[in-house]
């Protein structure tokens, strides 16, 4: 192409299957697009629920779809203020370091279907690695809050730590229940086990419910908006951040949600299985995968229009009480159903 040898190599690299999955779809490119659109979808739908209009004034003809673009421009040009009491080094490093645990789980996501896996790295310990990376995220939030050296950030950080322990154990046990059910922790094997429309959510709905609630807690979405509660602790650990650093922190919540929704799609909604779209080949699996992930994300974001925020003690009670019991029941369920199948 154009007589340039490098271009050919680049295109070959981009179209190389495992690289394409990681970089384009459902990897970074789709993630970036969703990050620009999802907050708009969220604000519009929640606005409709609450009899409001939602973002409208920026580009009224498109119903304000470029609102987040305008917001991110503002974040870009805003001054990043580092206050006197902050631990300067960690204060600036943690928002960027936070990227590592948020984006690395995408390496093990299988967006394919039974028989034709689409996964960047095939590993027998894929699920364990993903869970380990997801469980690493709150550590960085704790670091952010500690480096901020602010009372609101401190309260938010402590709340985050409390909730972290409350949801982490049911979350891991719920994933463990599915590992028991499928008999493998390889992301290829997990999707293969759901062949024939027998999705994880049908095989073990209790584990799906536990995983979903844990995902809500992990992403600090309502009704478990406890660490970031704007009205009480004004965005908790992120209170001192401004400009691009706040933009990163804001976007990071959505990225975390994307990773958890993708994991939910893979574990419970059959990965990229769906009717073939003619002429697209394996890309149709990717489209199904992204669509399912998007639906999970829309359900997650829209809960903020339905539920009020739980108190910290109520959130803890749900985590340590109901969810832990549910997760253990899910393991038992998996053992029984697995034995029957």
């Amino acid at each position: 192409m154009l007589g340039l040898p490098v271009i050919n190599n680049l295109i070959a690299l981009l179209l190389w299957e495992s690289f394409f999955v990681l970089i384009i779809m459902p990897g970074f490119a789709v993630l970036g697009t969703l990050l620009l659109i999802l907050p708009w979808i969220e604000r519009k739908m929640v606005g409709r629920m609450q009899w409001r209009v939602g973002p409208r004034e920026i580009s009224p003809r498109t119903r304000g779809i470029i609102q987040l673009l305008a917001d991110s421009l503002r974040f870009l040009f805003q001054e990043v203020i580092i206050h006197k009491d902050a631990h300067k080094r960690y204060f600036l490093q943690f928002p960027f370091l936070y990227f590592i645990p948020v984006l690395l789980p995408l390496l093990f996501i299988n967006a394919g279907t039974a028989g034709s896996p689409l996964v960047p790295i095939v590993s027998d310990y894929g699920l364990q690695l993903m869970v380990a990376l997801i469980c690493l995220m709150p550590v960085f939030i704790l670091g952010l809050g500690w480096a901020s050296n602010n009372r609101f950030a401190f309260i938010g950080t402590v709340r985050e730590a409390f909730l972290y322990f409350a949801y982490e154990i049911p979350f891991i046990v719920a994933v463990f229940a599915m590992v028991v059910m499928y008999g493998t922790s390889n992301s290829v094997g997990v999707v293969d086990a759901q062949a024939g429309g027998l999705w994880g959510i049908i095989l073990n709905p209790i584990a799906a419910l536990t995983f979903f609630i844990a995902a809500l807690m992990a992403t600090a979405r309502l009704p478990f908006d406890i660490p970031e509660a704007d009205q009480e602790v004004s965005f908790g650990p992120f209170v001192e951040f401004s400009g691009i650093a706040f933009g990163l922190a804001y976007v990071m919540g959505y990225e975390k949600m994307y990773v958890l929704s993708a994991l939910m799609t893979m574990l419970f909604l059959g990965g990229g299985s769906g009717p073939m779209i003619p002429g697209l080949g394996e890309v149709s699996y990717l489209i199904w995968f992204v669509l399912k992930t998007l639906i999970v994300m829309i359900v997650v974001v829209n809960l903020r229009g339905v539920y009020p925020r739980y108190r910290l003690d109520q959130g803890m009670k749900i985590g340590w009480n109901a969810m832990l019991i549910l997760a253990l029941v899910a393991v038992a369920w998996s053992l029984v159903i697995g034995a029957i199948i």
């Binding site: 009899w51 209009v53 539920y307």
Partner: protein
């Protein structure tokens, strides 16, 4: 003693509540009931009793100062016109839009409008002269329709109508309580004839009493409008307003 406790629900009722909440949310996403008025593009239709910008009709004014007296914010000051009559001026920097002035006006010279979006750039502009109060102020109308909220039982619906709403209210001037001026102590009258001078309707007349050779004032209760000007101006403070 009765203790009030939080209601207790069993798991079945809780699940039912969750399902209802989610179903309501889903219903609103599909067919939402927006209650937002897109203000410059559409206006809310206000009732005729809306307390907005105040208009003044000098033809009906009898210079009784009632509006100025009643104003709790002291926003209305009377100003002498070329004709020698006193007319109100209104300072919107002080006005609290209580519309006591409109309620107290015996002649119905002040009236309300549905205009609520008048803006000024300086404090001096907010002082509205009598001449400026006669015609409605210039406002930029961007509205192409108006909305009305209709409440039926427990639900609220929004009715949108095309076209501009008329912001000027046409209300008949209130008749008020018919009052008439009477002299309560004619023995103290010094016949200064001020009451006759101020009377707009010519109800006060005077006559020379032949017997005692003094001037006697008389108020014709038929023609008296009960404006109270003579009551205010009487130098001996012997006139009173009473019900007709």
């Amino acid at each position: 003693m009765k203790k009030i406790a939080t209601p207790e629900y069993d798991i079945k009722e809780k699940l039912k509540c969750h399902a209802t909440a989610l179903a309501t949310a889903a219903k609103e996403v599909v067919a939402p009931l927006s209650v937002t008025t897109q203000y410059p593009r559409e206006r809310r239709k206000w009732p005729d009793c809306f307390r907005g910008y105040i208009l003044f009709d000098p033809e009906r004014c009898i210079s009784c100062f009632e509006c100025s007296f009643v104003c709790p914010a002291n926003a209305i000051w009377m100003k002498e016109a070329k004709s020698g009559r006193y007319y109100p001026t209104l300072d919107y920097g002080k006005c609290i839009f209580c519309h006591f002035c409109i309620d107290s006006c015996p002649g119905g010279a002040l009236k309300t409008t549905k205009i609520h979006d008048v803006s000024y750039t300086t404090m001096d502009e907010m002082f509205t002269d009598t001449e400026e109060m006669i015609a409605p102020p210039e406002i930029i109308r961007e509205d192409e329709g108006y909305v009305e909220y209709e409440i039926d039982r427990d639900d609220l619906t929004l009715k949108r109508t095309k076209g501009q709403d008329n912001l000027i209210v046409d209300v008949a001037p209130s008749q008020g309580v018919p009052m008439v001026s009477v002299c309560v102590d004619s023995g103290s009258c010094i016949a200064c004839k001020i009451c006759e001078k101020v009377c707009e309707s010519g109800a006060v007349s005077w006559a020379l009493d032949d017997v005692k050779d003094v001037i006697r004032m008389a108020i014709d209760s038929e023609t008296c409008t009960g404006c109270g000007l003579c009551v205010k101006e009487c130098s001996m403070q012997i006139l009173r307003l009473v019900r007709k």
